[in-house]
Amino acid sequence: MERVLTRNIADDPIPINLATYEANEGYEGLKKALTDLSPEDCESIVKDSKLRGRGGAGFPTGMKWSFVPKGDACTPGHKYLVCNADEMEPGTFKDRLLMEFDPHQLIEGMILSAYTLGADIAYIFIRGEYVVSIERLREAIAECYEKNYLGKNILGSEFSLEMYVHPSAGRYICGEETALINALEGKRANPRAKPPFPQVSGLWGRPTIVNNVETLCNIPHIIHRGADWFRTLGRGEDSGTKLFGVSGKVKNPGCWELPMGTPVREIIEDCAGGMLPGLKLKGFLPGGGSTDFLTSDHLDLAMDYNVIGAAGSRMGTGTMIILDDQTCPVGMVLNLIRFFAQESCGFCTPCRDGLPWTRQVLEDIYNGRGRKEDLETLAYQVKYIGGIGNTHCALAPGAMEPLQSALKYFYSDFEKLIERNSGQQQNVARGQ
């Protein structure tokens, strides 16, 4: 299989600099675009490529870009491109790889995207803990300024672009694109209501596109080699390749670039080497902590957005977390809910107060203080907190996905824990 995004990244990777990147067709896409392609051409290539966002929601990138007002439709002023490098979704570790080892690929992708969108300022919003990535990106950006890949009149064209790295001060919610924009504005990172979408009113009230690292890394290749080529990369209905990852108790946890549509089994068994000796696979979250559990029944599904969606989960970030048969699913869900309750921004009620309530019920069950009615309460909470639109942003519905699917697949594990509570404590707070 052809490696695209990781073509410069060896199994035992060393970070590459501008010279090495250029040596392997680096910045060819950019040169091509600036000489031969108009922004409209680039946009239609990206549209035709059927690239879908790799940040979790899988929204078609070309379509998202088309909402940005261009030309006369846009009031005068800046337009922004923001790379979402916040990567805090539990179990996700793909963007780190791309930034640490091939920073120029991301930068080229961003320059091309900015060119397409007419953006003149670009930010890389990166989580503060990624100190190595931050350093390498800054170095790479400096190299680009030197070679006039960035700055005024890039490579002699009309197009100019400034690029900044903005290390985050923390919090998972900063990965949500509108919260991210607030964080970039130096504010508290509460998400914004949509509409208006950032494409129309984003950073400083100006048109803004937020894309994931991996999404943007695809752009140079798509521009350079064309939409048709990109579509053929996928094994199923989705186009391109994708970084898939596996963590948990498998023999060989890691991250690999594979064609879209690669079956789950291949990823877990071939790449990750299957379960550690003595363990069996009980379930897995296909794409990070906010996706629904799937089970061994789903091993032959292709990792395509719609296929995984039809099975009741989400492709998410494509980095799987494996639940083995020796690990308590209730404990795992509790860990996740604790994370989400902790990371709630505190803006809307179901998330801010509902998640701690869910956490409390799960803690009771996990610690042997569960009651029968707790299962009803959990189901109630899933419905109340989990509905899209029930909350102000997608954090809380995401938080409910592992819980709702755990209740579906591992109900008996919950029951067993509750049965262990011989005392059957009474609900002391009732009626207060």
């Binding site: 179901p350 801010r352 107060d353």
Partner: protein
Amino acid sequence: MPKVLVDGQPIEVNEGENLLEACLNAGLDLPYFCWHPAMGSVGSCRQCAVVQYQSDEDTNGRIVMGCMTEVKEGARFSLETENAVQFREAIIESLMLNHPHDCPVCSEGGECHLQDMTVMVGHRDRRYTGKKNTHRNQYLGPLINHEMNRCITCYRCERFYKDYAGGKDFGAQASRDRVFFGRQTDGVLESEFSGNLVEVCPTGVFTDKPFLAHYSRKWDLQSAPSICTGCGVGCNTAPGERYGRLKRIHNRYNYDINGYFICDRGRFGAGYVNNKERIDYAGLREVDGSYSAIRHENALATAGQWLNDKRVVGIGSPRASLESNFLLKHWLGPANFSSGLSDAEGPGMKQLIKVLSTTKANVPSVRQMQSADAILILGEDVANTAPRISLALRQAVRNKSFSMAEEAGIPEWQDAAVRNLGQDELSPLIIVTSSESRLDNIASHIYSLSPDAIADFGFSLAARLDGSDIEDEMVCGVADILSQASRPLVVSGIGSFSPDILSSAAKVADSLSNLNKKAMLSLCVSESNSMGVAMLSDEHTLSLASVMEQLDDIDTLVILENDLSRRLDRSALQKLSESKVNIIALDVIENSTLNRASMVLPAASFAESEGSLVNFEGRAQRYFPVFEPARDRLPSWHWLIKLASLDNDNKLSALACFDDVVSLLADSDKKWEEIVKVAPGQTFRDRGQKIPRQTHRYSGRTAMNASVSVHEPPQPKDNETALAYSMEGLNRDQPSTLSPYVWSPGWNSNHSVQKFQSKVDGQHKNQTPGIILISSNQNGFGESVSYERTGALEANNWTLIPIACIHGSEELSSYTKEIAELSGNAFIAISEDAANALGVLDGDGLQVIGGSAEISLEVRVVDRMAEGCVGYSVGYEETLSLAPGQTVRLAKDASWIRSKPHLIATDGASEASLGESLYV
């Protein structure tokens, strides 16, 4: 009107509004927290959830927030479907997780929006068994109590304090379920609108601290519609009384003026009504100078001797009712009447009335000011002289972002979206004043000029707008901005005591009107009835100076609610004290004029009497007694009738009640004709009954006096107004002027106001918004009188600029303990350069020498001050001898002892410093 289907029923909606508003307009009870009619939607509480169906086939629908959903013709919603009902219940259940359930000891109880909404959704049993989060409370000053544990994190306090009122020292801290609303450290809230937190918070986090010290439940408060006497804006208030004590003041919705918000002076400044220094009985000065309380019959008998066949002169007051002032003038005759305005203010007010009667511009209500797309302030520190107007101006500058939003298709009520789009884009606000103001931080242009220069600037600006060739860069720049606006607003007022500034404002407004703009002109006045008393003045009216000159020819002075020490200079006061004239002084509280009087008559305060006040627009409004005046107190108008009836030449004998006074006033001059319509008279009945001041649930009437007697005394009869000291009657659809409080079944909090509005944030259903008594002939102000300018000042000669202070400058409110605490010291405000030149620092002392004054004042170094000018805090005891425009010399007072800062944090470090980072 578009229609939407709600649970199968078509309801009519207004274009562009959101579904929550539409439901409330249709009389449907949809619960909410974070939405506020004046502040719009942000969608944080998720309480207003409904189910929306995408199509006729869609039977499941999905949950949307009513407040975030724009109504579209034909859309289908359900409030009652199981899913929506259960969701709203779950929201309350979640909000209750950390709520302490301390309703019995919470001062919000009984008017708590959270209680109302909880009952509305029907939630009862809590399933949560974990620990509740707790917070540390902060000391926020003498006005506001903080009980953070009751917080339901609706973000309204922050949105009001920061976004709406422009406060900086308050906000949300931390995150997730640890969000905390407060200051960085303990300390006094700086915003002059902090008191609105009490009403904006849907639960008991922010409560009225002085009220808390003498607490009663809302349903146990006796209320009457009232008008704030704190300044000349005329905000509508609802004071509450129990046990003969004025307990608290709440905002009373008035579409045109205050809407939902009043300033802290208005809310907290009336505590003087309960002051020990109030006068209870008539008093007569003994030979030795001391006073003795006497029966009022005896007082009147003595007064008779001072009145009959004597020359009696009456001095009115800008803080007494129109009726009392009128009676004084009518009784003693125009030639024996002084308005009581100071000699600095009198001519200014005359000019102001002339401007209002001739201006080509519109004189806007406060609400209308909010529509301005460019604002010019000439010489008025609006934030201190007319605080509620400054709050409106803060909204007006957002019009730029509203028009940007409109272009982008974002409805105005999408509060966060509009702010994100608009960022710091504000409509132009040009401030031309002598010194810094709290509106400076939203101004596009700020100029510091002396009062004379402000007037000059105004005249040149008008000339430039008229097309004159003027080169001055500042004039041209401002002219360009104003001529690009379509609804420019000029704000000025009496604050600088400069008639010239008023004339120049008039000229600018006229010139703008000539340019076919919907120009507006708004002029601030200083006291609650400055306008009324100025309108009563005519060519015969005596100035205070001429009264003092004629003292030897006067036998008796009747002083109506006026502390002359605030308006006369020292020598005049000295003369008054030494003269043989008999002084009969009526007032509510002891002051230095009463101490000079021969006889004192106890006047009822605004809370114990009825009367009309004329606000800055010329709008007359009526206030009503909240409770019966105690002891021998009487409304001044009543005393005046009694005094007049002692007079042989009695013009007032036919007056039997307050309504008679009003009729007499109406007949006295064409300009007062309409005054009878300001509010319904005593004979008004609602479905056969008077309007009850007490709530349906008013409790313990017998128990209230049980310590004295277990016999319930008869309720006082109110023969003067249409209100009754009773709980019998309806409080439903009466005229807004007679609405003592708002309450509606299921809506115990002030949010019930929507049940009284024609639509959300609209007019009161039965609106009687007062009567505008000044109409302009629209001929324009005409030529301005030529005036003389003082030449350049010599070295160390400074022109005094009056600086009004929200707390401290107004007379009666300074008798309120909490306001006095906030007033701080009297000060002299100087620029940093002046401070350097004089060798002083902030907090040092400066001797102020000039005229009859030689005093030392605390130095306050201000951000800006016109060259050659220094400011002084008006209305403070120490500065009463200073006059606006006076030239003084300054010298460092070496013996000055710096005062310790008062009102600092009292209880330790703030919650905030725990930070989010050390979460475990």
